[in-house]
């Protein structure tokens, strides 16, 4: 099980728990503002962009090539950017904080 904290664009902190699925699915199921997941989680739309808190980035890991390419020209891209449909919920990411990026 993993506890994941989202910080929304209006600085609300929401902590959720999950055991399976993707972080995007968790966010959508819980109506986290700014995470849309329009393509259903296949890394095609970039509407689930988050900045991983710097100290948590190692836990979450770097994006795959296709994901990095999708992110590259996003306005708000940073060294800690991820598309959270590509982050699997697992024990390994317990306790991480993700800041929602809205276009």
């Amino acid at each position: 099980m993993a506890k994941i904290t989202f910080i929304t664009t209006n600085n609300e902190e929401i902590t959720l728990e999950a055991t399976t699925g993707s972080v995007m699915e968790l966010a959508v199921q819980n109506n986290i503002k700014g995470i849309d997941g329009d393509c259903g989680g296949v890394c095609s739309c970039a509407t689930c962009h988050v900045h991983v808190k710097e100290e948590d980035f190692e836990k979450v890991g770097a994006p795959s090539e296709i994901e990095a390419d999708m992110l590259e020209l996003e306005d708000e891209v940073s060294d800690y950017s991820r598309l959270c449909c590509q982050i699997k919920v697992s024990d390994a990411i317990d306790g991480v904080t993700l800041k929602v990026v809205e276009e």
Binding site: Q29, G40, V42, S44, D69
Partner: protein, 413 residues
């Protein structure tokens, strides 16, 4: 003042996004959202892709959680059909004879698969279109229940091709029959058609083109599909993917202008005051292209929903999005941006050294119209950026695989 009511007909990509976008815009009125499908609204693209081959319940595909509708005070009515609109009274009637009044009405009724009038099609065994969660359940059941698992897909559009790839993964033997001379004829260039024809051949799916199906004969649960050239094919399971027809009846019955869909302006408004249409059912004006367009895509449904929500909330938004779309088949990820219609020059760029990774760039003169990117998200995002900014790019450099695919490398210096 009495609370305003927005009634939305159709709770799929367009209707659901509209309801939530209205709240995002700060619209405080009452939202009534109807769909005849009893299933909690879900993503359609996975139906022919990952969802068809997985055992996940449909809920894992939901557009929004049921709690989210409650939280945003959206009244979701599922399994109920809207049967008529009364424009003078500003009301709708439901299949259970209930009536709802509206101040704003949004038609998001989408489209339904065409089942062509082929003799024998009504009595064929295990014949399905693919549009709904129920279709997928039926297809999965049919696959499980036949031992020889011979599938024939009629129609080689994206849905047909994706379904073929998924059925293959499920252990079926698959044949695709296409009436036109090439697959994807209506939607893409010959380069892409050839590429996909080849990919399917490599995955042991036979595609036959110029095949006009004229009859289906069914004996003892086994279908024989007969074509006009005298050939015939045996199928335990038939998928019909020959395109869709707009669900326009409600709009038509009250005198809304219909052309290749429900005609709407760049603000998604129909010719009748307080009535809007969005998503697959809309034939919409896009000022970027200076013409009316009908699209079948999630991007179009979601972006029009946002524009419509802003319009209903009293703002003056404009729908001028650049269309984008994707398709997943086997290990091929296709991403498309722009509209290639009218191109007079094409550049195919293969990236060096890697497996299948290329992009097709469509130009009209110097103007970049569209990009099809295969396993190449970089080409897709760069193409998107260039099209958005109307950037003129150096075609010679684009053609040269030694020039790394980066915006700066492709600019005219």
């Amino acid at each position: 003042m009495k609370e305003k009511i927005c009634v939305i007909i159709g709770a799929s990509h367009a209707g659901v996004n509209l309801a939530f976008s209205l709240r995002k815009e700060g619209w405080e009125g009452n939202i009534q959202l109807f769909d005849s499908d009893p299933v909690l609204p879900y993503h359609r693209p996975p139906l022919s892709k990952a969802y068809l081959t997985s055992d996940d319940p449909i809920e894992s595909n939901a557009l929004k959680a049921i709690e989210s509708y409650k939280k945003e005070n959206i009244d979701l009515h599922l399994g109920i059909k809207v049967t008529s609109i009364n424009r003078d009274k500003k009301s709708i009637t439901l299949s259970n004879d209930d009536e709802f009044l509206y101040d704003k009405l949004v038609i998001a009724t989408g489209a339904s698969p065409i089942i062509p009038p082929i003799p024998g099609i009504d009595t064929a065994k295990n014949l399905f279109a693919l549009r709904t969660a129920e279709d997928v359940l039926n297809i999965k059941k049919a696959i499980l229940n036949t031992s020889s698992k011979r599938a024939v897909v009629i129609g080689a559009g994206y849905i047909g091709l994706e379904t073929a790839a998924s059925l293959k993964k499920l252990g079926a033997s698959v044949i695709i029959l296409e009436r036109e001379e090439r697959i994807l004829q209506r939607v893409t260039s010959p380069v892409m058609s050839d590429f996909f024809q080849d990919i399917h051949a490599k995955n042991d799916v036979d595609i036959f083109t110029s095949k006009n199906v004229i009859e289906i004969e069914t004996n003892d649960k086994i279908n024989t599909i007969k074509c006009s050239d005298g050939t015939s094919y045996t199928a335990d399971l038939i998928i019909v993917g020959v395109g869709v027809r707009v669900n326009k009846q409600l709009a038509e019955s009250i005198g809304i202008e219909i052309k290749n869909g429900i005609t709407v302006s760049e603000t998604t408004a129909t010719n009748i005051e307080d009535i809007y249409a969005i998503g697959d059912c809309s034939f919409h004006f896009n000022p970027r292209y200076n013409r009316f367009i009908r699209l079948e895509s999630v991007q179009n449904a979601v972006d029009q929903a946002k524009v419509c929500a802003a319009a209903i909330s009293g703002k003056s938004p404009i729908y001028d999005s650049i269309p984008w779309f994707w398709s997943d088949q086997y290990d091929i990820k296709l991403q498309m941006v722009g509209l290639s219609e009218g191109y007079d020059d094409i550049i195919v760029r293969h990236e060096e050294g890697e497996g299948i990774k290329f992009s097709v760039w469509y130009f009209k003169g110097n103007e970049l119209l569209a990009v099809d990117a295969v396993n190449n998200a970089k080409a897709y995002v760069i193409g998107t950026k260039f099209i958005k900014k109307s950037t003129i790019i150096d075609k010679t450099k684009l053609k040269d695989p030694k020039e790394a695919l980066k915006p700066v490398n492709l600019l005219i210096k």
